[in-house]
Amino acid sequence: MNGFLELFADYDIFGAFWMNIRLTLLAAVGSFVLGTVLAIFRISPVGSLRGIGTAYVNTIRNTPLTIIMVLGVLAVWGQLKIEFFQDFDLNFFTYAVIALSLYHASFVCEAIRSGVNTVPLGQAEAARAIGLSFLPAARLVVLPQALRGAVTPLGNTLIALTKNTTVAAAASVAEASGLMKSMIEFNPDLMIYIFLTIAIGFCIIVIPMGILTTWLSDKLAVAR
């Protein structure tokens, strides 16, 4: 236990968690937007769009996140020299957010699609029958109900995303799991405490998400 409290002075543990939270928030927005677009592709009457959506989901969902992250850094930054920001940290942070967004968009898409399956076909037909074309019908009638039916899988995706932000360490982003590694390296005797600190930190972030998901899913359920 000796020296455990000093760790908080020597290392910016809260700052590292704050990094995970920022990655989560930005990638949540990014993956939600892209995932919604993909879901619209997948339910659209246009065959080629459906094909694009399906191909994206099948490719990205089955590729390990670490590979997408490393590919972004090695290929796009290393080979193609595409730089978003001069600042080294900010640049890699951006890469991490993009990789997380691209990866989790495929899960968001499938979550929304499972939500679409909870919406009876008659809802879309009634929307078409009053003269709404595909996009307005999707936006005004199908998706609002689908999202309510997709709260639980979307919440699960958010939880997975939160924990997956640790993979950003592979893009040299200074986040909690990376910090844990270096803390253990220099304080091997405190390993178990360091490990528990980081684990509990993630629980504190993630548990409320689970509670919120359950609450929202009950509150937003569409009565039929």
Binding site: Q123, R128, A129, I130, L132
Partner: protein, 264 residues
């Protein structure tokens, strides 16, 4: 059903040939894969006519309705015209023409996440570009007319089936359609709620709305119908006035069919 009392019929639309054709189906065929659901349908429905469609289960009644507002496509070679205009392929033109054709479904299909009044105003606001206040005013008048104005702020699931179906009729009317299609509008209802929906439909018929109604409600057919179309296996086998259809069906399969539903 009231088969003993000869229900008062409206004077038959003798001048119907002079009126303009609102719905015209020429040579309409429909296949689902190799199965043919509609066979060579030729049908003209003049303005103001109430056409009753009857036939055994699977005879293609729903498919007929659904092709008229193109929820189903038809086979090449056939045409469907609404008020003289051919139904366009997918896209904006189709959406607009669909607004001219009101549809009432067996299962109501009210938008489950929207209140009753929002169900009625959605089309006028988003499709016709009406101002919200005006759309609401018109919606309340329609809800009044079908007798559910009290429920305007409720959600669909809070209403009885009969009330939901009347809202669905109001929702379709809000688009000021030229023709209304009803696909078994009362067959999902508890018996005590059937009449309240039929009353609204009778009223609509008397106001001169052009209607295509799939129903086995003989009372309604006699009271409001100008014409009965009997379908079997995707084809129209008989097309005549309600009274003569119910009393003197010509086709053996029509006789057989009537025998079955009248004994229920």
């Amino acid at each position: 059903m009231t088969q003993s009392t000869p229900a008062p019929t409206d004077p038959p639309a003798a001048d119907s040939t002079a009126k303009r054709a609102l719905v015209e189906l020429d040579n309409v065929n429909k296949h689902f894969g190799s199965f043919q659901a509609l066979k060579d349908i030729n049908l003209t429905i003049p303005e103001g006519q109430v056409a009753i469609v009857v036939g055994p289960s699977g005879s293609g009644k729903s498919t007929l309705c659904r092709t008229i507002n193109r929820l189903e496509t038809i086979d090449e070679g056939g045409t469907i015209r609404i008020d003289g205009k051919p139904l366009p392929a997918e896209g904006k033109g189709l959406a607009q023409l669909r607004a001219d054709v009101g549809m009432v479904f067996q299962s109501f299909n009210l938008f489950a996440h929207k209140s009753i009044v929002e169900n009625v105003t959605l089309g006028p606001i988003k499709v016709k570009g009406l101002k919200k206040s005006q759309a609401q005013e018109e919606a309340m008048a329609l809800l009044e007319r079908v007798g559910v104005a009290q429920q305007a702020k409720k959600m669909p699931a809070q209403l009885s089936g009969g009330q939901q179906q009347r809202v669905a009729i109001a929702r379709a009317l809000a688009m000021r359609p030229k023709v209304m299609l009803f696909d078994e509008p009362t067959s999902a209802l508890d018996p005590e709620m059937v009449q309240e929906v039929l009353d609204v439909m009778v009223q609509l018929a008397h106001e001169g709305m052009t209607m295509v109604v799939v129903t086995h409600e003989m009372g309604f057919a006699r009271k409001a119908g100008d014409r009965v179309i009997f379908m079997d296996q995707g084809a129209i086998l008989e097309d005549t006035e309600p009274e003569s259809f119910f009393t003197h069906p010509q086709h053996p399969r029509a006789k057989d069919f009537l025998g079955k539903i009248l004994t229920h």
